[in-house]
């Protein structure tokens, strides 16, 4: 079987293969996490694809607004949020890695660090939005800012779900619910968390960089 063999039937659940990212065990062709989380992830992707379509339609109808829009946004805030989310995602990779080695306490520490870094996002967003409001940049300032508020706050809602999920799996890991043989719940929470990373990578580019 080649590493990219797409047929799950060719995979062996009893002979884990080395992951490209870590020293963990990854079974080729498997479905990470659980089916439920993938339904959720694909629904979120469809939802945001529709929102992005609305963004592009607004963009082609108001090219000037989208050309000058990023000037009033704080790129540093968007950058710091990105760094928080990507670093938090890294911690979840380590958390899953740890549980695969039956290191539940280490896994809880990584999840906790991931939660702390994840909370950096709403914290920065709070100060960022306060700054905008004080400087008269609100949803009524223009179509670019209306799109910015709608899409980024929508993303923040999804990050909130993700953080709640991380709290839940932290508790479950701490109480011994996950082992190296059974950790799909922890992995599912991590997958959802990484999905919010992907969405923010796009949003960061749309609102803070692209002109």
């Amino acid at each position: 079987m080649t590493p990219l063999d797409p047929n799950p039937a060719n995979s062996s659940s009893s002979t884990p293969q080395p992951s490209a990212i870590s020293e963990t065990a990854v079974v080729y062709g498997r479905v990470p996490g659980n089916t439920g989380i993938w339904v959720g992830i694909f629904c979120v992707l469809v939802e945001f694809l529709m929102l992005f379509t609305a963004y592009f339609i607004a963009r082609v109808h108001n090219p000037e607004a989208f050309l000058n829009g990023p000037d009033k946004l704080v790129t540093l805030a968007g950058t710091v949020i990105t760094l928080f989310l990507l670093s938090s995602g890294y911690c979840m990779v380590k958390a899953v890695d740890s549980i695969r080695n039956d290191q539940a306490k280490t896994s809880v520490r990584w999840i906790s660090l991931s939660i702390i870094l994840g909370f950096g996002y709403p914290l920065v967003k709070y100060f960022e939005l306060n700054w905008y409001i004080e400087n008269g940049v609100n949803a009524e300032t223009g179509v670019f800012y209306a799109a910015y508020y709608y899409l980024t706050l929508n993303h923040l809602v999804h990050v909130t779900w993700g953080l709640m999920g991380l709290f839940f799996v932290a508790y479950r890991t701490a109480t011994g619910a996950y082992t190296s043989q059974s950790y799909s719940g922890l992995e599912a929470a991590a997958l959802y968390w990484h999905t919010t990373d992907i969405l923010w990578i796009v949003l960061f580019s749309f609102f803070y960089i692209l002109r």
């Binding site: 990105t82 760094l83 670093s87 995602g89 990578i201 796009v202 803070y208 960089i209 692209l210």
Partner: protein, 93 residues
């Protein structure tokens, strides 16, 4: 010694900082647009393949995720290259 996970994380951080610097230059036009498109695709691919560990996982699911981070850059290019045509197509009256 830096492990693979740390290298992946550092590469994402580096690409993010590169994007931030580009955003601060205030540049416009095709060079910026194409760079942004490439950054979205590369960073998205890294998260999918390494953070989500989809590289060796079920390839259909991986392809759906990759389709998402391919469609978005295509939309960027379409809106940039044919903005006026899309505007006419999406005008109601």
């Amino acid at each position: 010694m830096i492990g693979n996970t740390e290298k992946i994380w550092l590469s994402l951080i580096g690409l993010t900082l590169l994007g931030a610097v580009l955003g601060e230059t205030g540049n416009t036009g095709w060079p910026l647009t194409l760079t942004v498109v490439v950054l979205i695709f590369i960073k998205g691919s890294i998260v999918i393949d390494y953070y989500m560990e989809m590289r060796f996982a079920n390839q259909r699911m991986r392809n759906v995720l990759r389709l998402f981070i391919t469609i978005v850059p295509i939309l960027v290019i379409l809106s940039f290259a044919w903005g006026e045509e899309i505007r006419q197509l999406t005008t109601l009256n």
